[in-house]
Symmetry: C2
Subunit: 303 residues, 2 copies
Amino acid sequence: MSHIYDRVALIGMGLIASSMFWAMKRGDLAGHVTGFARSEETRETARRIGLCDTVCDTLADAVRDADLIVLAVPVGVMGQIAAEIAPYLKPGATLTDVGSVKGRVIADVSPHVPDGVHFVPGHPLAGTEYSGPESGFPSLFDNRWCLIVPPEGADPQAVDTLSTFWRGLGSDVELMEPDHHDLVLSVTSHCPHLIAYTMVGVADDLGRVTNTEVIKYSAGGFRDFTRIAASDPTMWRDVFLSNKDATLEILGRFTEELFALQRAIRQGDGEFLHDYFTRTRAIRRSIIEAGQDTAAPNFGRSG
Amino acid sequence: MSHIYDRVALIGMGLIASSMFWAMKRGDLAGHVTGFARSEETRETARRIGLCDTVCDTLADAVRDADLIVLAVPVGVMGQIAAEIAPYLKPGATLTDVGSVKGRVIADVSPHVPDGVHFVPGHPLAGTEYSGPESGFPSLFDNRWCLIVPPEGADPQAVDTLSTFWRGLGSDVELMEPDHHDLVLSVTSHCPHLIAYTMVGVADDLGRVTNTEVIKYSAGGFRDFTRIAASDPTMWRDVFLSNKDATLEILGRFTEELFALQRAIRQGDGEFLHDYFTRTRAIRRSIIEAGQDTAAPNFGRSG
């Protein structure tokens, strides 16, 4: 594939940005890629491992002349970064982000976008429980969705080019409205994360079961929660604070359902439980059929 | 390894029993293995795939002359099966089970155990989200814990031999008290399962987010919940009803913690959230160090 953007600037060099870099190189999608990270340690690591064609020490140097600027930082600091880079953005450039929440990012970033710069938010639904500049790999986005969430009045050409870029990175692309995005993601990602964090916290707090026991005997379900609960704390703090309304709504629904199951257990209502568990099993089958996971028995993976 | 038991009877031929059979063959642990399942279809499948040396049509035929009898059926029917097989058990034989709950199984089975037969309950902490006679494989127990939970007054020699047998199947063996077992497992397995079932149920119920969307965009956390929530409904119904007290206690703790996190989100208390998520991340590291999971970034697995 030939270059989709001549110059790309990656602001933040964590898991997503570093994977974007390797995937851009794999697909030859960009002529030159700059990278910036606030932390000097991250910049040094990036230079050592060859992450980005040029690692810049200032935001201004990173974004100057860039045709695509990618905000790949925690959702809570996107607005501040947008304000800092605004004076250096080239007319005609596209500004995008990879945040897990869209409504808040649009509200925070839009006021700072200069005339002639196209702001087209995005969200690749991909990741691992690892973070940092060394955690990226080129196939992270392969066959994963990337949701493009244009605000009202976004330039159609800029949206098209960004979509083509994400397809080049390996993703399937779909457009979505900001509010709907935040609700869907609350169900499929944000609330599952919060619940996993909670359950791992309960285990840690419980005096009568030692941490050693919890860790030793984690094979039967808890292990998968800890994997979720190992994700980056700053990123997730910002996600919950930024998607507060949808998170609280879905948590409310979750608590209702949990109480219904809890009552069935207390009352010994086996039929209710069996029906419930049969229904949830069918959903799993649909996910495998939709190609979003493999059917390989993951619980049985060897230690 | 030479035969640890001459004749072994597997009652139930699902994931655990079929994996035990293949692991017994791999290690040459038993002279002859019989199998029984209530369902004719399961017995036919077992015969077709060579599961068990002899597939028996009655409980009596399966357990007669057996040196080890393994109850590998849902926890709710163990007592009834014990009553049915009791008249046919050989003096000196060991009766064990593989149920996920121990207090209730001991209460249900013990009254039926004839004099001279040793009842030594067990619980291999291994499994996948699949079930049935074709889901077993010989390495399921490798490097997984098997908890042996002898009731008061259990014969030490019978406990030793069963422990050796489980080591031969690939497991690491540890002894545990019944009540403590049920509390630990409630934290590491039963409650995580219930919570995963609940979250998947919420997604299924939510009118404003379609099932198609939930399924398409499940990569970011929800996917792991659906894997857990795809486990056998009958087995899990019985687990919750049989381990009611510990389950309700841990769910109470879980709800408390969840409400604390929910309040932090509502109040915008980022420090509380960040601290919480940092703590849970450390637990994940301990699990990897304890060899109970690999460090490979599982989220990044390709679809």
